[in-house]
Assembly symmetry: C2
């Protein structure tokens, strides 16, 4: 029944000999319209192949039904999983997503923020770039009361909601696990420490050491980009150390796996000589050998949760005003890379 030309409510109105206002109300199930009229309109709409014009609607309602997402990089396990979760929820609720990547640069992040602002997104979901330190570019959103939800790489600010995991706790647990396995010289590889995720993991690492009576040593803390290449570099660096660590806790699986390879290739045994632990539970952690002890990060769920809360807030149910932080459950997953066999493993899930 589709015509070549787009059908509008005016066409429907003319066809049914009623007003456009009534058509409009009928289509959105307005209470003031009689059941019979509604039915007539809805049927005619279907028959004639009517499709609502969002632009007219948005123009009039001053709402876009679009949510902006800014991430550091689309092609990583964490981000793509999180976005998959977001897409699902947004889709279910009739929201569109516009996605852009900062490619880990504040500059691009700022540009994207402006684009999003100009696209008049109803809300924004953001995971910060590696080097973002200043948050002024989000002020335009706060000023206009456009809700901003940060996830994973967040910014502590009373005006926004943060969805995170307990990085501190997990890092603490994993470090403690390494200690329990008998490690004493535990190295930690962190990302940029101004980024909450890495700062928290580092703090957990330090506190666990302290509580275990192991002294923290500056030389055992390294900050890098956590990329594949950084992992390889790291491996080489470790090989050159005269006093090598007996364990390495890396803030990210990809970096950990690549580092392990270098170490292994040089003839060291893992976990025998050096134990390893990562973070994220990236699929790679189950491929690298030995399998990598890591933290099971609920990426997909985090995306769902962040989106759900944003939408709830937009539709009024929500409460970004009252809720300020959502912490998702996550837990360490012990695998062979850290099992020296000396310690207990405290009933932790072994996969």
């Amino acid at each position: 029944m589709k015509e070549d030309k787009e059908i509008t409510i005016y066409d429907l109105a003319k066809h049914l000999k009623i007003s456009a206002a009534t058509v409009s109300r009928s289509l959105k199930d307005h209470p003031g319209i009689s059941k019979s009229t509604k039915k007539k309109v809805q049927e005619a709409a279907k028959e004639m192949g009517y499709r609502s014009n969002n632009f007219a609607r948005n123009l009039r309602k001053q709402k876009t039904n679009t949510i902006g997402v800014i991430v550091p990089k689309l092609n990583s396990y964490f981000v793509s999983s999180a976005i998959a979760g977001m897409e699902k929820i947004a889709n279910e609720n009739g929201y569109n997503l516009i996605i852009s990547q900062s490619l880990e640069s504040v500059k691009k992040e700022i540009a994207n923020t402006i684009t999003m602002f100009n696209s008049r997104v109803d809300g924004l979901l953001v995971s910060l770039a590696y080097d973002t330190e200043n948050m002024e570019h989000f002020d335009v959103f706060f000023d206009k009361n456009i809700p901003v939800v940060f996830f994973d790489r967040v910014y502590e600010d009373s005006r926004s909601l943060n969805v995170i995991i307990d990085n501190y706790r997990n890092a603490y647990d994993i470090t403690k696990h390494l200690v329990d396995e008998g490690c004493q010289r535990i190295m930690h590889i962190a990302g940029n420490l101004t980024r909450n995720v890495y700062a928290e993991r580092c703090r957990g690492y330090k506190d666990a050491l302290r509580d275990a009576g192991v002294e923290f040593q500056d030389e055992l803390l390294i900050v890098n980009e956590l990329s594949e290449e950084a992992g390889k570099e790291l491996g080489k660096k470790i090989l050159q150390m005269q006093n090598k660590p007996d364990a390495v806790f890396v803030a990210n699986d990809v970096c950990a796996a690549n580092c392990m390879q270098i170490i292994k290739t040089a003839g060291y045994s893992i976990p025998g000589d050096i134990a390893f632990a990562g973070f994220n539970n990236d699929p790679i952690s189950k491929i690298v050998e030995p399998h990598l002890t890591t933290v099971n990060y609920p990426c997909y769920e985090m995306g769902e949760m962040a989106m759900r809360n944003l939408i709830d807030h937009l539709t009024g149910d929500g409460s970004i005003s009252t809720t300020n932080k959502i912490i998702l459950r996550s837990e360490i997953v012990v695998r062979a890379s850290s099992l020296k066999g000396k310690g207990n493993n405290q009933g932790l899930h072994i996969a």
Copy 2:
């Protein structure tokens, strides 16, 4: 200088004591407006914090500046990389992306298609779901002359542009390489053979065998989902074969890597007992041990290319009408998993 209320061209017009039409034309650099007026308007716009309202614009122009992307699954290496490339190009050209996933189900794919249609995207980029066989759901787009570009998992249709790699050639090369390494019982693991990519790879495999004088055997061709789990299943299946293959060419790295693990754990040597080859050059291929011989698939570039062509077409430069297929360069990457050391490697790039 930003006010609380949105500034419109009417505000600018009033402020400058000129008509809204002149403002509109000035802002878009219309030739009929004098330089001095244009400058005045553009300056005032900046000063007053004007931002153009896309909905009004779209409503009037009947164009959305939005491109729809439908993919099977967001969280895979291939897809996230391709989307990263698309986003880059779209962003550079002022287009927005709306992205949705079919989750490998035709049903959801159809639903997404309808959503995209109703969102009035200017164009569509699609990689088909695993089980899509019927293409009727794209007819609405073809009927309305909305360009559709398929990438990777494509559909041969004169009305659309396909962006692909030469799956046949690569599969042929990789199979030939295995033969050259001395393999005779080469197994091939394919995906759904109605999907072009898998059909082509399978064809390349068969032809390479034929040309090498190796007889194709039905029992050595297996179709599965190519997922992690499928890879493990496959490993078990191979272990149960009495007459095992001496090489396995899997149509996807993730599946290959997971299969290798099972085989290795059972005590077989790779490539000694069984050589392996995959497809995609997923990061996992450089982690699994031995490193996996595979095909370097230009995911990011494919995303860029698909998007660029779609946009060119929308802006009139393009020619989906004339171009019907774009084949990107790709090549096999030989790594340890297939090097039995008996054969030559024909100068192929070894990474």
